[in-house]
Subunit: 614 residues, 2 copies
Amino acid sequence: MPKVKFTPQNKEINVEEGTNLLEAADQAGLYIEGDCAGRGTCGKCRVKITDDSKAEPTAAEKKHLSSKDLESGWALACQRTIDHNLVIEVPIQKDAHLRKTTLAGGVEDLTAEPLVEKVAVKLSRPAVKDQTADLERLLDHLENFELNIKLRELSSLPALLRDNSYSVTAAITGSRIISIEPGDTSDQVYGVAFDIGTTTIMGSLLDLKTATVLAVAAATNPQNAYGADVISRITHASESIGNLKQLQDKVIEAANKIIKDLLKQTRVARDRVYEVTAVGNTTMSHLFMGVDPTYLAPAPFVPAYSRALEVEASELGLKVSPAGRVTFLPNIAGYVGSDTVGVILAADMDQRKDNCAAIDIGTNGELVLAANERLMACSTAAGPAFEGAQIKHGMRAAAGAIEAVDYIDGEIKVSTIDDVPARGICGSGLIDAAAALLDAGLIEPSGRFVNPEENPEKIPSQFKDRLRSGNGGFEFVLVKAEDSETGDDIVLSQGDLRELQLAKGAIYAGLMILLKEAEIKIDDLDQILLAGAFGNYVRKESALTIGLLPQLPAEKIIAIGNAAGDGSRMALTSKTMRKRAIELPGRVEHLELSTRADFQDIFIDAMAFKGNRK
Amino acid sequence: MPKVKFTPQNKEINVEEGTNLLEAADQAGLYIEGDCAGRGTCGKCRVKITDDSKAEPTAAEKKHLSSKDLESGWALACQRTIDHNLVIEVPIQKDAHLRKTTLAGGVEDLTAEPLVEKVAVKLSRPAVKDQTADLERLLDHLENFELNIKLRELSSLPALLRDNSYSVTAAITGSRIISIEPGDTSDQVYGVAFDIGTTTIMGSLLDLKTATVLAVAAATNPQNAYGADVISRITHASESIGNLKQLQDKVIEAANKIIKDLLKQTRVARDRVYEVTAVGNTTMSHLFMGVDPTYLAPAPFVPAYSRALEVEASELGLKVSPAGRVTFLPNIAGYVGSDTVGVILAADMDQRKDNCAAIDIGTNGELVLAANERLMACSTAAGPAFEGAQIKHGMRAAAGAIEAVDYIDGEIKVSTIDDVPARGICGSGLIDAAAALLDAGLIEPSGRFVNPEENPEKIPSQFKDRLRSGNGGFEFVLVKAEDSETGDDIVLSQGDLRELQLAKGAIYAGLMILLKEAEIKIDDLDQILLAGAFGNYVRKESALTIGLLPQLPAEKIIAIGNAAGDGSRMALTSKTMRKRAIELPGRVEHLELSTRADFQDIFIDAMAFKGNRK
């Protein structure tokens, strides 16, 4: 079998002849960026191959790589199969960048009202006059509980009692004894709250006695290798039970990596983590639980389940206390998942009295409106443009991403994350770029670039060489090759503008439908909450400029950070919040937009860049 | 690695050099009879080795095998290690003989009051106007249940619904959906009741809709390879977690063999078996569940648990419906197990008003007394003599076992099971033999054989050549070599009489202590019930002759068959009986005999063969 060596990661792997290079990297545990699930359309899985017998580049490679790059060995991993030993250079991908995520999250105060009870007991020793069995001896001290115990725990109870002078601590969730521990461990009660994003998985370790966040960690969702969007993943999972299992294994593996990291940071023992909560979109929930998501994709978009699922950690292979309880919060609909439940909970939307909309823009866009004591939610097919997918030089919010673009003093200026040379453009940068070019008069209301050939007079001289003809229409050079990290120009293309128009139009139209159903007007809105990491970084002014948001005073628009993740933490630490979360879907009216003619009308209208100018 | 071939079973296996032959047979899946866990003391693991390079016989082999046998290749499997290729002839062991066990068991009428509910439903199809998730769509039809569902079932629910036009059947036990099946399967509801004996495992398959026994099957408990008695097994299990797991694996494997047999007999599908009940002594319960039994062996004989344990079939690896419920009925004490709970239930002892004792003689002896509205139970260290262990030519009740011995017309006559040449003597034969020799005046009240050298006048001439000097004192030849299957004389030895005295004395004394505690006399007993296969075959007259039972009119002594197994069936088919069984231990007073001086007194007295002659 040919051997492949990946540098600089220094990983070697033997693979079957004919194995795809992207798959080989996956087998070696490496993540190579890409959005198109290996179809050769995104051009992002660039690797450099050290190989004398150069293969002929494929059409996809010729499209995405310059002839100079091809000459020096660059290739697209998805386009190559392995038939002899190779050395592959993989550009280092920083893991999902946490930017300013703080330990505390967006919610100021978490309530400590633990769902795990720990009871330390000191039992009397058995004697011929008292032959009570070990379990019953223990349960006599826990008489307020009607308890089940797992065989795993019962199996070693006799030795545990005798090795510890009959002094042990029971950990109890619901009516189950999930752990019996030597001595008094009643001060050690921990939990992990997950936010399982399509792109990024975030986890926090909390002390459940105090509801304090002790550590946070994040990782790229390794299901990315099967496509950036949920539809690609559903398609993959629906092909075979093996594929479904594979996607489940990937996300569980990533969750375990995060847990390991959290435990390492805090020196908390794995066996002292008894509760795990998770939020995510409905597809992520199904894949995490290993449940067939096939019928989420075609209309009428039916999930396998809506309710919160509670399972034992060992059933999922999550590396916390084996009998610990894992709760994935409930889904509202096929495209409104428990991440939205988390947002509602974190923003207190089920209890507040004013009119308030929340927009969570991740890989999909979900909207919630609380108005007139009603709660309504919908999802929009915004697509993953705001996460950099489908955008020519799009990338996630990682070092080197253009995150802000300004039109100042007649100049277009860009800033990158970590102030390093630009590698691409992330979601907030994309919106900023469009807003700046609108301000500069380089984009027409229809979304087309001003044609520099037909209307040269409309192009200020300083942009003459930056607005140019590209592969698929005009494009604007944001960063020149000599200033970029990649050595290529970084551009905003006509195609990118089209993606942006589709995404912002869908979100705007979704919000309008919610207002219509609630019979209120834009001006009746007291607040628009922007949830998600994206909401933290998008400039309100730019969002208003491009018409992503309706025309409201900027102070009514509030970024609330990773509210979905906050909701997960709240449901982790508080019985009351858990109950509210579990019961929420019954209170939310879900609107299905895909078949509504009024939505299509508003959507088409909302794609244009008009009437939204500041 | 040397290769061992076993004939006539025709199994080959490669083993590590130095592997013990008994272990090698175990690895090959063969059961070689033996009682001493390979210590070389029982002499029962006879095999014939075809090997030119004959090894020197060990002391144990010289003790148990004649020089003629040694010459022709006979050896004890436990004494041999393998260092080169061998062919081994293993005498065929018939599996535990069921004798006259009937399908109906001892209980005439089982009540059909199933613990499994099956609900067939036809669901409406989802539509854009009704996007209800699959699980919630199903649960809307099962609204009287508060239900849990396993991921295993949920995972494939979407395809199941769509492949079957939304017509499915849910199987529910307690509050769990344990299975969702295509179409209407509501008429298929089955369960298996086990009686896990130290020596023999019996199982029955029942139709739970009608409480009918459809098939029975039995197998030798393969834990036998680790010793015939519970103490040997506890000792083995306590040595390491691996050993405990090994013993659990053995019994689960045997239970699965029985299930396979039951399903084959009836053509019932594995997935339609939803409930399993089991009874057994406390050690068997611990080993079946894989729970550490270590502290059952030393005083104060404390079990790890008493209550009934309910687990999922898949947790144990039992091959019925994976989420099916397995319930091991509760233990009363370390040496009074759920088999006794089964006996109490089957004999209605917790509800009857007369004075009644039940004696269950298996590998151990358990006694129950119902008197004056009290229920009392104790166990006696009767030892496995009645199952043929520790008896020189003892064997189980299988073809060729001497099962009856008569003293008629001055002659001692033997009958064997299946009327084939004798191979050994089983429990009922042992009691009969002792009773016959007592009647013939060949045994003294002390239990010693009449000494033919000192008192030749006491030996009738027809027995002069049959009562002779053996290895460990005198012995009586029951069957001569020329008439036996083994080609050896089959004898009753002085040692055998001693074992019998210990066993019968213990049981008699146990019963006396129960009567004493209840403050009643022997004559106050309305009935003595003999439970267990042994109770079916022992002759009441012989049991009275040797003083195993107190002097009562024979009509008060009633054999009730395998009452423990009947109890398991009753708890399988009826909610009411299940509840009664689970609550029974709380009603039973357990008497610990081992430390009572009054027990020792009565016991020593009861060992003699006196005052009990008919």
